[in-house]
Symmetry: C2
Subunit: 242 residues, 2 copies
Amino acid sequence: MIVLKLGGSVITEKDERETVDLDSLARLAGVLGQADVDDLVIVHGAGSFGHYYADEHGVSTTDGTRDARAVREIHDSMTRLNKAVLDYLDDAGVPGVPVRPFSAARRDDGLEFYANQVETMLAEGFTPVLHGDVVADAGAGATILSGDEVVTALAAQLDADRVGLCSTVPGVLDDDGDVIPAVDAYDDVAAVLGGSEDTDVTGGMAGKVRELLALDAPASVFGPDDLADFLRGEDAGTTVRG
Amino acid sequence: MIVLKLGGSVITEKDERETVDLDSLARLAGVLGQADVDDLVIVHGAGSFGHYYADEHGVSTTDGTRDARAVREIHDSMTRLNKAVLDYLDDAGVPGVPVRPFSAARRDDGLEFYANQVETMLAEGFTPVLHGDVVADAGAGATILSGDEVVTALAAQLDADRVGLCSTVPGVLDDDGDVIPAVDAYDDVAAVLGGSEDTDVTGGMAGKVRELLALDAPASVFGPDDLADFLRGEDAGTTVRG
């Protein structure tokens, strides 16, 4: 079973509010439609959808809101992006169905994520498509649940064989801009990882690598050009193995 | 804590596809906005939204589909109705947030419903608004999960104090069309309960009464005129106590 994250910056125009990158999404959906993967779970990021509203309302993974209208603005924005992703997957022959993390999780001394429905969807031949979202947070109202958190929760609970993060960059880069083929410990890359430059309430590559190192499954960080390789089980981008 | 069902026939024009009964919904939302209830969970039915698509694709609570497009058509239709309900609640000052059962449940030798997120939403001051939906069903693809099933699952798992079913009829009626004030066993009403006359894949009053009798919490079946009384804790329509 593979958990694949499609980064928000890959499927949206990050600088234009609520704008899908149609060419990129169509291309990725086409690759997914051609792939021969039995059990695939897709998680997509927020890009220019959820982030804008999260910023507007001052909501992050730690700063919450008790304003139901703010919660709905962020969540509904992600519902619109999710629908676009599902429509393109449908065009490409992928039997995607939506799973909304706000309906399936809460934070209360850590993240609690209900994943049994995803397991049954996979067994019945569907491709569950999740996303970064808001989440009810005990003591804080509702906070942001990043797509990366959803990926790690699903990978751990569903005992994923492999995890893929398809981002705009071709992998974890060294100081010369070359892809580092493998990362086995955070110290390997601490010197080269900075923060994300775009608006991103959920952290950049440093956080991603830390979370991937904590997984049992090997994870690959790669760019859109390497998605087909990844789905075939070949090396793609940087392989992170904790 | 109260679990309140707003019947699909109360909030939609049941004979006109995807048509909200705006007057009725606005009126119910207004009553909810004026009510003094600490912890309220709302579940709404499908009416002229989900049912049409369920019928079109031959999907019921027992007959499933493995067609992702059919699943999405039914689910997306309910998402549109849910948005209308939330918008009207918002206008009335009720802090509603959406919870989609398809994301929170599965059938596998019975219904498994994740309700902890609802508990945290309530504790944080939100009013979770759920609905009848599709649900991943082991061995059957996806089947229909009725709003009534969602009500009984939530009432049992969240240990509800009271359950209310607001329907188009003022209660369970006897042969003269008068409201039966109390039902303590199915035999009390077996002679007078027939099937629902409208398109309804999820059963009529007979099924509702059977499910309510199985609950620990007392349940009231009443019409829109009695919603305010019910919310104040007064007798409303028929009280079902198993």
